[in-house]
Amino acid sequence: MRAIRVRGTFLGGILGVLALALAAASPAGADETCNSPYMGNLIKGQEDYLYVWALGVKSMGDGGDKLVTIDVNPASSRYGKVIHKVSVRGRGEAHHMGFTDDRRFLWAGGLDNSRISIFDVGTDPARPKLVQTIADMPAKTGYVGPHTFYAMPGRMLVQGLSNAKDGGGVTGMALYSNKGELIATYPMPATGGGDGYGYDIAINPQKNVLLTSSFTGRKNYMRNLGELVKDADAMKRFGNTMAVWDLKAMKPKKVLSVPGAPLEIRWSLKDGDTWAITATALTSKLWLIKPDASGEWQAKEVAVIDDPTKIPLPVDISINKDGTGLWVNTFMDGKTRYFDLSNPEQPRQTYERVTGKQVNMISQSWDGTRVYIASSLLANWDKAGADDEQFVRGFRWDGKELKPAFEVDFYKEKLGRAHHMKLGSKAMKSAYGPERTATLR
């Protein structure tokens, strides 16, 4: 395996700033332009539903993590309203979700309890139903904290964040069949410059490349943030690498040095493009991953996001359908920023707006005119007091301005903390409906 030396303890320099912040964070997700390339059923018109995976809050409603469905079709009489919710009973740090390749099922993970909840969203897209729970991922794989759910043909590739042995950041990926049976495990590269950490997954089938990024282990992400940032040793245990994998062989080929917890990875969807982009949470930069003139994959810092010394904490990013623009949410200042990617070697921020007191996830419709923002990062990393807004907000984007369209207050509705969002549509339903329903799971 080729390797590049990873830089050392860059985090020491930002520790003081983070300690002052005392409320901050990192992780994030995906949307209609950021799905697996193996998903064939993209919604390219008006979406009908927004599925929100929400963290339960004690004494709020039933207190459990839940999948919330919001009607987001402006033509509907229920536009902007919660139309359904299904609780999984219990709190497990609800975090990210991913559709199966046929979009019939939505897998959702808990970073604390490592449970994977599988919802049927194909039979009745307006009323998702919990149909299966995978509770033995730690026992069977040794990995905990299922984070990214990435559709592969007939399978789901799940990225862990941590391990069952010491709760550190060394982890791996688990491959399941769409029926929920474990097929294989793949440890993250821990030699040749690799730190063994994991976070996101992104595949380019035409290049036979799988990219992974890196975050931190359970001992860190479940810890109170105020305490964490004062622990210099703990702050050293964040990922500083990305890995380039041979997708077919599922073997790591090269480790790239990308200091500062590289999180979401987005491939440009434009025909002919062969680059991906990521944001580093702790160093507040955009990095471009692409092959050099000799075909060798390289990572290159291409932009800073705001003033990195202020630790704005870029979290989720969302690339548009033709790779010309990128949304970046920064958690600490509650801003949603737009970067012009016309030249991916030199991204330029062209717009920003405060969209909440804390913002994490951002999703956009296929045409980019509708943008959805959710508030929560992690239960123990979200802000406190009046700054602890919990919401999903819908916006219209005309290329110049984000204009508010609707808002759901998740605390007022007793739903908990709003995290990952995925889009749904009623436009399709299974052929052979009655016959199929009888055989489903």
Partner: protein, 247 residues
């Protein structure tokens, strides 16, 4: 990596055949004689997806057991009722769902194009010729009768490699096979929520080993002839005595 001369020749021959098939399907759809079958439009990919890499050599990677291939009654092109397992065990099998009226170049015609090329390359390899089969199974039993499948198959000249064209009697015998393979089929709705025309599905092709275990699944964005051939050879290497004896 450029295609070999035999491969180019096979692709040219098939190109003519598939052009005729697509034209017939398009005419049938336009005339309202078919189901209007179409795949989900997906402008992310060109009709012919290019493979921009050199795949790892056969035997250098693992093909994990994904699931057992489902079984159930099917009809061959002569109308004989047989178990699908007759066509999924005993040989390395490449199985894809199609419907004969499909005109989307990124759908069933793409599957048939790749099958045609794979079959040609397999026929040239004495190690594989008798050990590989192709199966095209319809998910439109109402229109794809055994006679329709026989007519469809007639356009594919025989070359000594088994290629079965199968259908089912009824949706209720088809659906367990679809669900067993995890193959979706959907129908589009109109503004009033009523079924309105085209069927849609995610293109999937299944590589099945001699024990009827699915070992790989390909879709439009990864349906590359060279990869499939290497996977077939990887399965074949598993079955050789030297490979079995290896630690």
């Amino acid at each position: 990596m450029g295609p070999s001369a035999p491969r180019r020749s096979a692709e040219r021959r098939f190109g003519r055949i598939i052009t005729v098939l697509a034209a017939v399907a398009a005419l049938a759809t336009a005339a309202g004689t078919g189901p209007g079958a179409a795949h989900e439009p997906d402008n992310r990919l060109p009709a012919s997806v290019t493979m921009d890499f050199v795949p790892p050599p056969p035997g250098s990677y693992a093909l994990h057991a994904i699931m057992r291939a489902p079984d159930g009654p099917v009809l061959d092109r002569d109308g004989r009722r047989l178990p699908l397992s007759r066509f999924t065990a005993g040989k390395i099998t490449l199985l894809g769902f199609i419907y004969t009226s499909c005109a989307d170049p990124r759908g069933c015609p793409l599957t048939s194009q790749v099958f045609y090329t794979v079959r040609h390359r397999v026929a040239e390899d004495p190690e594989l010729r008798e050990r590989v089969r192709l199966v095209s199974l319809s998910f439109d039993p109402a229109r794809d009768t055994p006679a329709a499948m026989r007519h469809y198959a007639a356009s594919m000249p025989r070359n000594g490699v088994e290629w079965a064209f199968l259908t089912t009697e009824l949706p209720r015998t088809l659906v367990p096979l679809l669900d067993g393979f995890g193959q979706d089929v959907r129908v589009e709705l109109d503004a009033r929520g009523r079924p309105a025309g085209p069927l849609a599905h995610v293109l999937k092709v299944f590589l099945i080993d001699e024990r009827a275990i699915v070992r790989e699944i390909y879709t439009t964005s990864y349906l590359f002839t060279e990869v499939i051939l290497n996977d077939i050879k990887t399965l074949r290497l598993e079955g050789t005595p030297a490979r079995r004896a290896a630690p």
